[in-house]
């Protein structure tokens, strides 16, 4: 555990000093802040627009951070050969992979926290600045704490994306890893179509294959409760808990795969 912690802290240190991360976070915070201006352009719908844009920004920029840093972490170590010295130290390859993952998740938690604080600052200001009669018309409070459930599920989703990016990067190039990760993310958001393939096609093989893929591929749509959060619709804690459990179990399987591949690899 100590070794994993050391690797994780090192990843965190490295990534917070990388300019690409700063750029992404600054851009995300700017995006969330400017949603305030966009909200001003829409009569009566401003808070809803800001919430929509804010949560979407957290999700999209989180995804970019996961993919860009996730795919680069292991690949860069191998390509630049810094892994040679590291693996000669008393560290198992599995500890290296898991440490890298934990470090990246730590980075993501900090970034998502920064973006969430920026988001709540903007919506909080909106709620405070709105006249009493306008505020009364909001479907839910401007700085509704229930939106944190959506943020929590975004975080779990990002953890899964990171694990997938790391998995691909243990054996593939960054470009291919990015393509495969984003590809899975897109498919995972339209997963229901795979399950319902039977209503579009007649072939039983295709229907069976669609169902199999539905269960095997990550169901990213399950993590998306942004619309409910924006409209103030209830998101049961049970759902959040079960979805988080699903996400974390999936992460565990993906990491086992990454460790297995990485442990057998030759570093030529």
């Amino acid at each position: 555990m100590r070794t994993i912690r050391l690797v994780a802290v090192n990843v965190f240190k490295e990534s917070v000093r990388d300019k690409i991360l700063y750029n992404l976070v600054i851009f995300a915070v700017l995006m969330i802040s400017t949603s305030y201006l966009i909200g001003q352009l829409t009569g009566g719908q401003d808070v809803k627009i800001i919430k929509d844009l804010g949560l979407a920004s957290i999700s999209i920029f989180g995804l970019l951070i996961s993919v860009f840093i996730g795919i680069g972490l292991v690949w860069k170590e191998v390509e630049k050969r810094s892994i040679y010295t590291l693996l000669s130290k008393p560290i198992r390859r599995g500890e290296f992979v898991v440490g890298k993952y934990v470090g990246l998740v730590l980075t993501l938690v900090i970034n998502v926290a920064v973006m969430t604080v920026a988001f709540y600052a903007v919506v909080g200001y909106m709620g405070w600045a709105a006249p009493e009669n306008v505020r009364a018309a909001f479907p839910s409070p401007a700085a509704d704490p229930a939106m944190l459930k959506a943020v929590a599920l975004i975080m779990i989703e990002l953890m899964l994306v990171t694990a997938i990016a790391l998995f691909f990067s243990t054996f593939s190039t960054p470009f291919l890893s990015a393509m495969l990760t984003v590809g899975l993310w897109v498919i995972g958001h339209f997963n229901d179509d795979l399950r319902n393939l039977g209503s579009y096609v007649g072939s039983s093989t295709a229907v069976w294959l669609g169902k199999a893929l539905y269960y095997v591929l990550p169901n990213f749509a399950a993590f998306d409760v942004k619309a409910q959060a924006v409209y103030g619709q209830p998101v049961p804690m049970g759902y959040v808990g079960l979805t988080a459990l699903y996400g974390l179990t999936y992460v565990a399987f993906v990491l086992v795969g990454a460790v297995t591949i990485f442990s057998r690899r030759d570093f030529k």
Partner: protein, 320 residues
């Protein structure tokens, strides 16, 4: 117990997409290194030196064969605890400082934060970059990175250090410093296994060497055994030698080359046969005086070139 024991270690890579063929990077290497030795692992580029070191560090897995370090199989965590490794052209994390890197590595060996800091600081001073300890590694030159690489290989006060081309990227001063460092390690009882294609380094440092060529072990032994008895001729220095006597000896083929040092004073290269005492006796008979007579031995470089030339490259067909 030997410090390093290698038995029939073989590594084949596969080349070709449609018709994969094995490419032998290392072929049946058997070798042992005793504790406390400074062992030179020599060979031209592509001889299999780095492949061997990577196998010993378990960065790659062997196709067949076996290797152990300090009596335990390579890759064992307990072994890694006692070993240091400098890869060829080392590279580290861009955004860490030299001090942070060494502290990180020291912590991986279980050092406390205070001990890690102290060790890192001492080593950076030892390798001559103490002044740059708080500079991020991305700003380091190749030579400075090499020094950081050497420092990190020693962070755990290892019993064995594996150095892959340790002098590479260093200026003459740096090379001398590293030589001195290796000798200090030897004096401390540390086993040093280093690969190089710079033979002067091996001649200055090694108690034993192995010469690799085309993935195979070409020769191994004490430096003195490998090169000292390969006497290939004699160097004779005489004074008062008349020109006629020199011409006569030349015409008989008893002198291969003559270099005039002064009036009547010559440095002569004599062949291995006939024995030099006969030529010398003739010259003394004509008024010459002996200044010195020395055997001309093969240098390690000569030996190295002979070994590499004698080893023909392996083809994949041979392996298959």
């Amino acid at each position: 117990m030997n410090a390093i024991e290698i038995e029939a270690l073989t590594k084949h890579y596969t080349t070709g997409f449609w018709r994969p063929r094995p490419y032998p990077a290392l072929d049946g290497l058997t070798l042992s290194v005793a504790p406390g030795e400074v062992f030179g692992f020599l060979g031209p580029n592509g001889a299999g030196k780095t492949t061997t070191l990577k196998l010993l560090m378990q960065l790659i897995y062997p196709t067949s064969g076996h290797a152990s370090i300090l009596g335990k199989p390579v890759g064992d965590i307990a072994v890694k605890q006692r070993v240091g490794y400098l890869p060829e052209q080392p590279y580290f994390y861009d955004y860490l400082t030299a001090e942070e890197l060494l502290e990180y590595f020291a912590a991986l060996f279980g050092a406390s934060a205070a001990a890690a800091r102290q060790r890192a600081s001492g080593l950076l001073d030892d390798v001559g970059i103490g002044g740059e300890r708080r500079v991020q590694l991305r700003k380091f030159s190749k030579g400075m990175l090499q020094r950081v690489g050497i420092a990190q290989a020693l962070i755990n006060e290892p019993e064995i250090v594996f150095l892959d081309e340790p002098m590479s990227g260093l200026d003459p001063l740096g090379r001398r410093e590293i030589r001195e460092l290796i000798l200090r390690l030897r004096d401390r009882g540390c086993t040093v296994f280093f690969s190089s294609h710079v033979l002067a380094d091996a001649e200055a440092l090694c108690s034993r060497v192995a010469v690799m060529a085309n993935g195979r072990l070409s020769a191994t032994g004490r430096l003195s055994d490998l090169v000292a008895f390969h006497v290939r001729g004699w160097e004779l220095v005489v004074s008062g030698l008349p020109d006629t006597a020199l011409e006569h000896a030349r015409s008989l083929g008893h002198v291969v080359r003559a270099t005039k040092l002064g009036e009547g004073r010559y440095a002569l290269e004599l062949p291995l046969s006939p024995a030099p005492d006969r030529t010398l006796a003739e010259m003394i008979g004509q008024g010459a005086r002996l200044v010195s007579l020395n055997p001309v031995r093969d240098t390690l470089e000569d030996f190295f070139v002979q070994q590499v030339a004698a080893s023909k490259p392996r083809t994949s067909a041979e392996v298959a």
